[in-house]
């Protein structure tokens, strides 16, 4: 099955922003990313967008499709309709066309120490750290984040506070705090307990709606918030 579709793309050339229309014949099963490649190869070679794996793993291709942040490689054109408005993600500076500057997003991720912290780290003599299935399930879902930035784009708290860590970074913090092998909880709680951390979230929960990996960042933030509140109360009596 084939039919003509219209891609309306919000472009940016470094100075001005404008909308450009592209019409082409799409076939059944064609993804938005394939549509973007078709335009780049056949209609306008100057169109810029990010992509790598084409299979929902690398998180590079997130764009807004008809207002909703989605992975272009996981969204089929006909599932959206015949007219697709494609824009760069929100809450990050646009560099060119659909490419946004994700540096701040990754810096925030880095800031919450998203790695196992152990007091007995010894790379010369590595030892196995055992976990029960229950301990694994406590954090497993939250470990599936591909850092696509869709949640950050949809978050109204990130829209008004540039210092807010955002859903993905707090989810990463929770993922490690909930890991039975980790010993860095205190460090991370100190990082996410401020007004630029969990308390900035106003539970819009749109992050959970748009996450392509169905991770529920909103849930991770509320769990982290509870952890943070208990930590704060405990620290008063310490």
């Amino acid at each position: 099955m084939e039919r003509e579709v219209l891609f309306r793309i919000r472009r940016f050339d470094g100075e001005k922003e404008y909308w450009q229309d592209f019409r082409f014949t799409a076939r059944k099963g064609m993804t938005v990313l394939e549509g973007l490649y078709f335009i780049k190869e056949n209609l306008d070679g100057s169109l810029a967008f990010r992509a790598s794996c084409r299979m929902g793993i690398c998180g590079s291709c997130a764009v807004k499709i008809n207002g909703k942040p989605r992975l272009a490689c996981e969204t089929q054109i006909f599932d959206v309709g015949d007219v697709l408005e494609i824009e760069p993600l929100d809450n990050m500076p646009v560099l060119k066309d659909l490419i946004v500057d994700m540096d701040g997003f990754f810096r925030k991720h880095e800031a919450v120490k998203p790695y196992l912290i152990r007091k007995d780290d010894d790379y010369e003599n590595p030892k196995e750290l055992l976990q029960t299935p229950k301990e694994l399930h406590a954090y497993y879902d939250f470990s599936l984040c591909i850092k696509c930035g869709a949640c950050y784009s949809a978050c109204p708290a990130s829209a008004t506070r540039s210092d807010y860590l955002g859903p993905a970074a707090i989810t990463a913090a929770y993922r490690f705090c909930a890991d039975s092998r980790d010993e860095g909880r205190e460090d991370r709680l100190a990082l996410v307990s401020g007004s630029e951390g969990v308390w900035r979230c106003h539970f819009n929960a749109e992050c959970s709606e748009v996450c392509p990996k169905s991770i529920e960042p909103a849930k991770a933030i509320q769990k982290m918030r509870l952890m943070s509140a208990i930590h704060m109360i405990k620290s008063i009596f310490r």
Binding site: G67, K68, P156, S158, A159, T160, C201, N204, E209, L226
Partner: protein, 124 residues
Amino acid sequence: MKGVSGWFTLKGKSVNSIAYSFHRLTGIVLLLYLIAHLSFLTSLRIGEETYTAFISITVRPETLPLDSLLFLATFYHAFNGLRVVLNEFGLLYEARKVLIYLMTLLALLFWLYSTYMMYVFLTG
């Protein structure tokens, strides 16, 4: 950054964002009402006549629609706020959409009843 418009952007968003936007809007309405309310009360310091003059402007049948809208904003903000408090305590976030509909329904019921009561009060 998208700025404050990010609070009110509904295109491509879910019912969560509609609830969120209305919560912000009704919050602003209630803040404006609070300022007006406190100004009215402060007018008592000037004299009872001033206060009565102010009250006579707002407590009359013609302003009933405004009062009714104020009650709608109040009930919406209160019930939706309750949902947010529950969710933010880590409770029922998986049922957040059902809760949105439930709380909106409760707000509408309370609003209709309060509007009816105000109408009866004003018209005798």
